[in-house]
Symmetry: C2
Subunit: 365 residues, 2 copies
């Protein structure tokens, strides 16, 4: 690293032109005569000139960056200070099979959204700035990020409304995965309701379930509410004469909690013919319990989840689920941002992405 980074002035002097010409060579090369352009580019190379995005952003009033903000996930809170661990010996450790879900599977959710956002940003000529909330500092972080981008995508619920409105005065904001409310923001989300309805109808189609258990998640969350509505839709649409008995419990989206529910169900002897869960983790917990007690899936009970997490592809039996297009969520968010940046006046947009029911062995006939 040299003492001081070269600026337009240095390049201009070196090339014997004015700074305006240097700037033009970089921004609108067609406006400069070829000979001059070459001379300037040569100087750029010689001096190792890299334009300052801060100065450019200030002068041009746009940064070319879009932001993506997540709430802090568990993995971050746990992390200790990073101590570079000089290598030397290589530990050889047994790695027994784990039955419980790998930790931080919700983290994969973010990964996919992020990947989608990155892809779409890339295609639209933006770079992506990733921010993660840290608990109470969240507000200042969001604000910080908001100051450095042309548009911001935020996971719904991770930032207080007041702050969002604050930010929206400056740049466009798009909310990811929340329900549309009466606000001015753009929204992208998945069709939880239709997805769950289709899932439940699929279960009915496979077998005329005599009794069905629906396991909700955290009943406070929009996702859970929408999925539950989808469940109710399916029940309501079912011909009355064969409508099965249904019962509903909640298990906080937790595999352990769902496992407990299923275990006590088996103990009570009242085993339903089908168990549909508001997410995959809970469905896996149900599988755990049923398997532990020798209850056949799908032979005796059909089981289905929601999300399409990877673990569901590796369970035994593999889990029927509703696959959320996480990556598309990220893409859609940036897509919408990008469009709004092009035309700030358009009315708020809501994009509801389609989901797919993935039929696997846990609901085989």
């Amino acid at each position: 690293m040299s003492a001081k980074a070269p600026t337009v002035y240095d390049v201009a002097e070196h090339a014997g032109v004015s700074i305006a010409t240097v700037s033009r060579v970089l921004r609108r090369p067609g406006d400069v005569r070829e000979a001059t352009r070459e001379r300037v580019l040569a100087s750029v190379r010689t001096l190792g000139y890299v334009p300052s995005a801060s100065a450019r952003g200030l002068a041009a009033r746009r940064t070319g960056v879009v932001g993506l903000f997540f709430p802090d996930f568990d993995a971050m809170r746990e992390t200790t200070s990073f101590v570079p661990d000089r290598s030397g010996s290589v530990p050889v450790v047994a790695d027994p099979p784990r039955e419980d879900g790998s930790p931080g599977s919700d983290l994969l959710y973010f990964d996919e959204v992020l990947r989608g956002a990155e892809i779409e940003a890339w295609r639209n000529g933006f770079v992506l700035l990733v921010g993660v909330g840290r608990g109470s500092d969240s507000e200042s972080i969001v604000s910080d990020i908001a100051g450095r981008v042309d548009g911001l995508a935020v996971l719904a619920g991770s930032v207080p409304d007041e702050m969002l409105e604050h930010i929206a005065r400056r740049i466009p904001v798009v909310l990811i995965a929340g329900p549309r409310r009466d606000d001015e923001f753009d929204h992208v989300s998945v069709d939880n309701r239709a997805g769950m309805r289709a899932l439940v109808e699929h279960v009915f189609a496979v077998r005329e379930a005599d009794g069905m258990l629906y396991i909700r998640g955290n009943i406070e969350t929009p996702d859970d509410i929408e999925r539950f509505e989808g469940f109710q839709d399916a029940i309501a649409a079912h011909p009355a004469e064969t409508r099965p008995g249904v019962s509903v419990v909640a298990a906080e989206f937790s595999r352990d909690r769902a496992r407990d529910v299923a275990t006590s169900l088996v103990a009570s002897g009242h085993i339903p013919d089908a168990i549909v869960c508001a997410n995959d983790q809970m469905a896996l917990g149900v599988l755990d319990a049923l398997q532990a007690h020798g209850v056949a899936v799908p032979g005796r009970v059909l089981v289905a989840g929601f999300d399409g997490i990877d673990a569901g592809r590796h369970s035994a039996p593999r889990l029927t689920t509703v696959r959320q297009p996480m990556e598309d969520l990220g893409r859609a968010a940036v897509h919408v941002l990008s469009r709004r940046l092009g035309d700030p006046s358009q009315p708020p947009v809501t994009l509801r992405l389609p989901v797919r029911v993935l039929v696997r062995e846990s609901t085989s006939p």
Copy 2:
């Protein structure tokens, strides 16, 4: 979005102070009397003021951003333009088990590095800027990113050396996962050599393999070279009187290619007692072939890979491997950057992260 975002001047006027005071309230609140501070903060809230990072970055000569640059991965090249697909019907599709690795598994590699980088950036008070190369435009993109960050982490090999040196004149650069060469950059990488040596020694410890096959990857890459050296180390360290016969082939890190290799091996009748592969994908290909021909693993042949990809935890038998700490790579990269930003004069650092041999059923005694 209002017509115009408020600036320090607006806030200053609204609060009846000078812009210097506004700036101080935000940057060094202790320097301002409490009453004044409160008044300014109130104005900030009412006006919806968000500081411009561009202006701040320009004035303060630092941005508070660190960059992470990846080469473009396949998933990106394939992507078509994003067309928002309005939802409606929910397709119900069968999702049969796939035996081949899920596409884009190398993409997961990036995800993990990225996650680590994000975590560490977060802990050091930076935000993370993610950039992805697009083939030939790579150079301009890297340069673009370099202009907006205080430091840059780059996947080794994804950017021409000349460009790196160009950038390094302006900001610190750390290379991820490459071998240390005679350069001025900081490096972080994993201990491929020691890892492979430990893996091979583990295989010897499990069973006195009479013949061992080592399947290399793409022999041009540093990773492959280092791992092969580790393999040779293990062989050389083996007592001469019981040193097994070894053979070596290359299969381009490809599952398919490795499957072919193993298949023809079985056909030839010369089946070694152990097969060690330079990555997991190839090891999985070997498992495919052996299983297809009824050759027992680990009963007849021991198989091991390198990387610790997820698919190796779900194969049958599960795959013994060397787990690379991808996430730590990302963390280490940002850690090193952060340290150098604090003390630019320190000599180039090389961090070689330790790996772990994960012993699973594919090398059970």
